[in-house]
């Protein structure tokens, strides 16, 4: 797909990533490396678009012009291998058996008007570590030698309750058929708990990161700013140092802004170095008015039920939700068993819920996963459950992972909420004030236990067969070939003397 005659220039955009996108015809790419689950009940809503599912998640929008399905498959393999080389992760395991092209989800992310196809793959089991953070940092213009990224300490970052390293490439076209620009956004989302370091509800930048902010800001950055959301407490309950800061209102919340200076040497006691906040009381996080819980029920290793609970806590106002799930091929879900029941909160009598549409792609063994997308309405103050029954397949003994008893992760489901103008209550600060009309909630990842064969069987077979052969065969063989011999006791020497057969015969005749 690349045009080899055009000189490609890369200055701020990293060449390593740009060449990969160019070669495989990728218009937009979302790559997130996350560990942990965003706890909505404890932390409220995440900032718009900052939540990511646990593990590695890759979403690529590939151009389809001049490429048929086979070429797209080959290019997808090349893309995942190139990305796994770039980010040091095992993305090359995302082959045809675990990627999906959902029809309904992520429609708002497809920015350009060109035809392209979405391929989405997820590795729920991957762990994120410094090996992934370092190449991500190398993509930045100033890498991790200057700027805010210099403060990222791997020890503290990977110790956080939730951390996500995100690389997002999006495309904007000024108008149809005009030149399009690709933008690269690199993000680290982390949730730190200062109570784990000290028992006081106060934090400072140095105590969180264990590293002072003493490098200058990146000289190539147009702006480097630090935003601190001012907590919703009365003025005496907290102190924010340094006190002289600009305050802006973003999304109805007050935010303190600090400008990170380029030449810190001009100002040795730079204000940002001593950034800290002292709090005397706890404040409660804003609650979310929609919650999702995903779990498995029914016992046994042969079949089960995957259930998703959608709760609308609002008193008034229905919500439209789209549930997208990608189940691996060995979890065979049956479309006719999809059931959607709604219970008014606090009551036990069910009522039938409203299902607006179902899009189902059945999985083919060892070829493609099951993709299920259901669009439902959750009425106000109702708890609605979406259930689907599944059956587990028997895997061949070589298809199990090294720790077979652990089971397999069935990646998290995705609930897309359409706000239709009604924003959820008290969404926290969004740095980018342009908010979108959808909220994505990533449900919990579940684990299925597949029936595990006895891996010692080959050894058992060899041992058993060899033992049987050695004892039984040897014994029987020697028995069949041994001779019966007659003997008589000699009168004089009292010892047995072997009698020859012809002697016996001679005696008889005599």
């Amino acid at each position: 797909m690349e045009q080899s005659r055009i000189t490609k220039k890369y200055d701020l955009f990293p060449r390593t990533l740009g060449q990969v996108l160019n070669r495989f015809g990728v218009e937009a790419l979302d790559l997130t490396m996350t560990q942990g689950r965003w706890m909505h009940d404890a932390w409220g809503w995440p900032v718009d678009g900052y939540a990511a599912p646990p593990g590695f998640d890759v979403r690529a929008w590939l151009r389809t012009e001049r490429r048929n399905a086979t070429t797209l498959d080959k290019d997808w393999v090349g893309l995942t291998n190139a990305l796994s080389g770039l980010f040091c992760g095992s993305l090359n395991f995302l082959d045809g058996t675990n990627i999906a092209s959902p029809a309904l989800a992520y429609k708002d992310r497809q920015g350009s008007s060109l035809l392209d196809v979405l391929r989405h793959g997820r590795l729920a089991r991957e762990a994120v570590c410094t090996e992934n953070l370092t190449p991500w940092g190398k993509l930045l213009p100033c890498s991790t030698k200057a700027g805010l990224a210099a403060a990222l300490n791997g020890y503290r970052l990977f110790d956080a309750d939730y951390h996500s390293i995100q690389t997002l490439v999006s495309i904007t076209c000024a108008s149809k058929d005009s030149a399009c620009t690709q933008q690269l956004t690199q993000r680290v989302v982390a949730v730190f708990n200062p109570l784990r370091q000290s028992n006081k509800p106060e934090w400072s930048f140095t105590s969180l990161m264990d590293r002072p902010l003493n490098r200058p800001a990146c000289a190539l950055a147009a702006s480097s700013t630090l935003h601190v959301t001012i907590p919703d407490l009365p003025a005496g309950a907290f102190q924010l140092h340094p006190a002289d800061h600009a305050a802006v209102m973003i999304n109805n919340k007050q935010v303190a802004t600090y400008v990170y200076l380029r030449h810190h040497s001009l100002d040795p006691a730079s204000a940002t170095q001593s950034l800290r906040c002292v709090r005397l009381v706890f404040d409660h996080p804003p609650t979310t008015d929609f919650s999702v819980s995903r779990y498995l029920t029914d016992a046994g290793q042969e079949r089960g039920i995957l259930a998703v609970d959608l709760t609308n806590h609002r008193q008034v106002g229905d919500r439209t939700a789209q549930y997208t799930d990608v189940l691996p091929w060995f979890v065979r879900a049956y479309l006719h068993t999809v059931a959607y029941t709604c219970y008014p909160q606090g009551h036990a009598t069910p009522a039938d819920g409203l299902v607006e549409g179902v899009w189902f792609q059945h999985g083919i063994d060892r070829q493609r996963p099951t993709v299920m997308e259901v669009q439902v309405t959750v009425p106000a103050s109702h708890l609605c459950t979406l259930r689907v029954e599944y059956e587990l397949a028997n895997l061949q003994y070589a298809e199990f992972r090294p720790d077979a008893e652990r089971g397999f992760e069935v990646g998290s489901g995705l609930v897309t909420l359409f706000l239709n103008g009604t924003r959820p209550a008290r969404l926290p600060t969004a740095i980018d004030p342009k908010a979108s009309d959808v909220v994505r909630i990533h449900a919990d990842a579940v684990q299925v236990q597949l029936p595990v064969p006895d891996f010692s069987m080959p050894y058992n077979v060899i041992t058993f067969t060899c033992t049987v052969l050695a004892f039984y065969f040897g014994t029987m063989f020697s028995l069949t070939l041994s001779r019966a011999v007659s003997y008589r006791i000699d009168e004089t020497t009292k010892k047995p003397v072997v009698v020859k057969i012809d002697e016996l015969v001679w005696h008889k005749d005599e």
């Binding site: 690349e2 005659r5 041992t463 020859k500």
Partner: protein, 441 residues
């Protein structure tokens, strides 16, 4: 002694090439000139063989042809005639002017020129290792962006990419012509990276505080550090990269070429690229026997004259042909030696098309020959280094012992001991058999 046949085809031209040079087309018949030329060539170079310099077992065999003026054969040097008493041959843009009066003198001049070109073709220059595709990456590495800003340079680099487009792209197109589907086998890219430090051992302690830097020559190889962003593209790891690096250190260094001068930058690059790809310098005048050969100075926009281009294509084509045959021979030896090596049909197809590429009748256009030889060599190397062939190599004997021995050794031991016992008994009975007969009697 293996030979590579190379066609040298000349055409007596009457088109604009001769008129522009101020000369006239040769007034002699093509077949006559051809037989004269072949005779002269054999006189100078007996049995018309030129040994290759890098491959002593190989020789170059020259096939000479002279075509008539209405024979539309492409890309051959055109023969024109210039009046004058000087005995010389002048190479121009696709035209060769021969001066001399008698027809035999034309043949002698041309034979001398052919011998010289053939010897140039037999002696190929060292160049970057062969690859199916190349990438030329012009990088600007800045040690400290703060100093660059203060010197007035912008953070984006526009000179590099435009120099690549205007000067390097035509040069590369002359060396590796564009393929039929419009793609080129050389990709051009440029990048700017910041906070790139010189490698370990380049700067000593005294240098760090100095206001200006002087680097002795022996420390220069260490300039490229281990963490420099010069890795090949993750998307195309088979592509060989030729790096043109411009490094701006934090301590101001005397800059030899001002960064803002596009043309000077491009000239430096083209000089390095000529060395990198093995373009031999063919300029000025050379005396061969009684003939003076004049080659043009390359003042063209592409940085390479047409003679240099022709010689490059010819010598490259010869080298690639030799290497292809050697690779295929090595493949045949390998397959003969290792009998359990699986050779898939794709490898067979690649070997066949590589063979066809080098053994087919060579065309007269040297750039075509070069392209075909490159493609054949790429196919031969792809067949030889195919990863599938290495697959079954490792099938250790220990596995076979571990599976079959526990099954068969107990059985064999039992059977063997019984056989031995039966043999002894049989022998004893044979001896004992004599007695009962005696007793019966």
């Amino acid at each position: 002694m293996v030979t590579v046949t190379v066609p040298f085809a000349y055409r007596i031209g009457s088109d604009a090439q001769c008129l522009l040079a101020g000369a006239q087309p040769l007034k002699v018949a093509a077949p006559a000139l051809q037989s004269d030329l072949i005779a002269e060539f054999e006189r100078i170079l007996p049995d018309a063989h030129v040994p290759l310099v890098r491959y002593p077992d190989w020789t170059l065999r020259i096939e000479l042809n002279v075509h008539a003026e209405d024979n539309a054969v492409e890309n051959v040097p055109i023969l024109c005639h210039a009046e004058g008493k000087e005995r010389r041959v002048v190479f121009g843009k696709n035209a060769i002017l021969i001066s001399g009066s008698a027809s035999l003198e034309h043949a002698t001049r041309l034979a001398h020129a052919t011998v010289y070109l053939a010897q140039l073709a037999a002696d190929a220059q060292e160049s970057v290792p062969f690859s199916r595709e190349y990438e030329i990456l012009a990088s600007l590495f800045i040690e400290d962006p703060a100093t660059v800003r203060s010197l007035g340079y912008q953070s984006t680099w526009s000179v590099g990419p435009s120099a690549l487009d205007k000067y390097v792209r035509p040069f590369v197109d002359a060396l590796f012509p564009t393929r039929a589907n419009g793609s080129s086998s050389v990709h051009l890219a440029s990048q700017v990276r910041y906070f790139v430090q010189p490698g370990e051992g380049v700067l000593t302690e005294t240098d760090r505080n100095a206001t200006e830097l002087r680097l002795p020559r022996d420390r220069l190889p260490h300039l490229v550090g281990s963490d420099w962003p010069v890795a090949p593209s993750a998307a195309a790891p088979h592509r060989s990269v030729v790096h043109l690096v411009t490094f701006v250190p934090a301590t101001p260094m005397e800059v030899i070429v001002p960064l803002g001068e596009e043309r000077k930058l491009a000239e430096t690059w083209i000089t390095h690229l000529r060395d990198a790809f093995g373009v031999r310098r063919v300029r000025g005048s050379v005396q061969v026997d009684t003939t003076a050969l004049h080659f043009p100075d390359s003042g063209t926009a592409t940085g390479i004259s047409s003679t240099e281009r022709a010689v490059f294509h010819l010598s490259s084509a010869v080298t690639h042909t030799v290497e292809t045959i050697q690779t295929l021979q090595a493949l045949v030896r390998l397959v003969d030696q290792q009998t359990n090596l699986p050779v898939s049909p794709t490898i067979a197809r690649e070997v066949q098309s590589a063979l066809r590429g080098v053994t087919s009748r060579p065309t007269t256009a040297w750039s075509d020959m070069h392209e075909r030889a490159r493609a054949a060599r790429a196919q031969a190397e792809a067949a030889f280094f195919d990863p599938d062939m290495v697959g079954l190599m490792y099938f250790p004997d220990e596995h076979k012992y571990a599976v079959y021995m526990p099954l068969f050794v107990p059985v064999l031991v039992t059977v063997l001991s019984v056989v031995v016992r039966e043999l002894r008994v049989w022998q004893k009975e044979r001896k004992a058999c004599i007695e009962p007969v005696q007793r019966a009697a």
